[in-house]
Assembly symmetry: C2
Amino acid sequence: MPEKPDEMVVTPWRVEGEIDYEKLIRQFGTQPIGEEILEKFRRYTGGLHYQLRRRIFFSHRDLDWIFRKLEEGEKFVLYTGRGPSGPVHLGHIVPWIFTKHLQDSFQAKLYFQLTDDEKYLYHEEFSLEFTTRTAYDNALDLIALGFKPELTRIIVDAVHIEALYHLAIKVAKHITGSTIKAVFGLKDSDNIGLTFFPAVQAVPCFLESVVQGRNVPCLIPAAIDQDPYWRVTRDVAPKLGFYKPAQIHSRFMPGLGRGGKMSASQPETCIFLTDPPGEARRKIMNAFTGGQPTAEEQRRLGGNPEICSVYQYYAFIFEEDDGKLREIWENCRSGAVLCGDCKLKLADRVAGFLERHQEKREQMRDRLEEFLFSEEERKLIWSRGLPKP
Amino acid sequence: MPEKPDEMVVTPWRVEGEIDYEKLIRQFGTQPIGEEILEKFRRYTGGLHYQLRRRIFFSHRDLDWIFRKLEEGEKFVLYTGRGPSGPVHLGHIVPWIFTKHLQDSFQAKLYFQLTDDEKYLYHEEFSLEFTTRTAYDNALDLIALGFKPELTRIIVDAVHIEALYHLAIKVAKHITGSTIKAVFGLKDSDNIGLTFFPAVQAVPCFLESVVQGRNVPCLIPAAIDQDPYWRVTRDVAPKLGFYKPAQIHSRFMPGLGRGGKMSASQPETCIFLTDPPGEARRKIMNAFTGGQPTAEEQRRLGGNPEICSVYQYYAFIFEEDDGKLREIWENCRSGAVLCGDCKLKLADRVAGFLERHQEKREQMRDRLEEFLFSEEERKLIWSRGLPKP
């Protein structure tokens, strides 16, 4: 796991903790997203998504190769996922918003893995029943964002294992216990399910290649903390005759408290997609900001958006227009808008978003099956991987 | 793994290496099969199977409990299996013969696990394609022995994983890496698939309980070298609310060489069920015996059946009649029958057995599906273990 970027610097043009994320790039051995890559995105998507403009997605592996393959006529598939340990919060959907943008822009098929097995194995107190149910529930939040059913395959590990296991043991054969210990920090006192799990997380990288019977490039948009999985997967892929998966890495959306990643373990600092809108308003009104102790001081000295969690909510999700985001920044800096007003405006947007999302979410309940990895496809992958009697 | 019982003592009434197997009972903490258990067998099966009379099955865990449950009206299921690393040899079918006897005597359902995943993970050079194909092939040898299709469920791990995985991760959650290292001698340099595998081998103990929705006793007839798996499984079972599986342990059938377990890695010392009968004859004629250097000496001094591999073939499989087995013993001892004749007689029996077996095996090829774990049953177990969306 990467170090937590405790102190973030945020400007209207970039949302980043420059020092920490550059360190991550060096530590993980990834590449920063440079002008050349951005130019490719502009060309293919007719502009730059706000998450690229603000460097919310800031790092990659082999994204240049993904575009090269595209130019050669080889389309990529997308793969991302979630560990269903509880309700989805706003931080989780940041990369999903970008993933939807990629699906729409490139008409790319998405494999989305819900790791009910991992979360069951990780949390002493969780039942598999709970994590599998949570997986279905979290899937509603995903599809409510507008993914295309014909291009989306939601995998629930324990439920859909028939399509995964034969590939997982092929991956597992090439990973030693030492590697797992070194990369994930597991110990002999951890259970053997957790030790095996990284093999299961590797599998969706290769599913489309199995379906098509030829190598298909795979691009993984995900927060950078998932990178260790892909490093291991990239080592194994060529041994199985598959392309190495490419990655594009996002930063963490900060919580409503003072610094740090938004985390479900601190429910007051994060807004769940299932929070009643009033609850979300309350959390926002209690948020940590960059304001001065008094209104008078704030009008005189201006606020400090660099350290303000409310500002970051605008930047990560709730204000896509750079001009308007800059305005928020400058109104804070100048003391023209006080924290209370700024919070109220955000609270309105978040509450409005949640209302619409929760309505959509309920509408999608009956359509979940359309998005789930179908039995037909599972059987296809299973039958391609295993001989018949 | 237990120590190899290099020096076996064999008498017409018992086939055993007394010292080694008693040591195993102490080491593994199992129980010898005593008169009380034998009496139960006599009562339920109308006699004693030759493998019980000769103490080929010599040790157990909770067999008294299995009979107690039976008396209370709770029928047990059987579970055994095989690692499909190559062709089946005569040593493998010794416990299968006894398992068939149990199926017939108790009308017991049998779960038979073919661990294509384990053998793929264990052998560097094996493909999964190979071990899965070998699993189907080995299954023919099993069903050619006369198991009842309506009472037999052959599981091929990688193929039938949908019914196993959710239970395997439940088992895995309760087994640490340390336990696996201590019990199976695995190291950090071993692959993570092997580390996870004991959880998969545990699962069939519990399948019938899931099918019936209530606890069903499970009895595992198998060679004693598999005992470490069951010790681990027995520790986990109550944590998942299942009965501990009971075991009945067999000795190893010796090879045709000087001492030691029959092993596929020494093909000259073991007879494969797919060996051409002529090949089997040749191996038997080259077998190590307890004979004297010359015919004259043998007639004068008599042979030594205690150390004779040919004698053991009679005792383990090819002479079920104790009186006739005693005759072979005494004719050897007295020098009345020389090794050549004794081998010829065995060669005839083995060749005849192989001819019949191989014919039956081919006949069963079209009927394999009847014995394989059906999709319907797999779906049933899957759906009982995992919530629906």
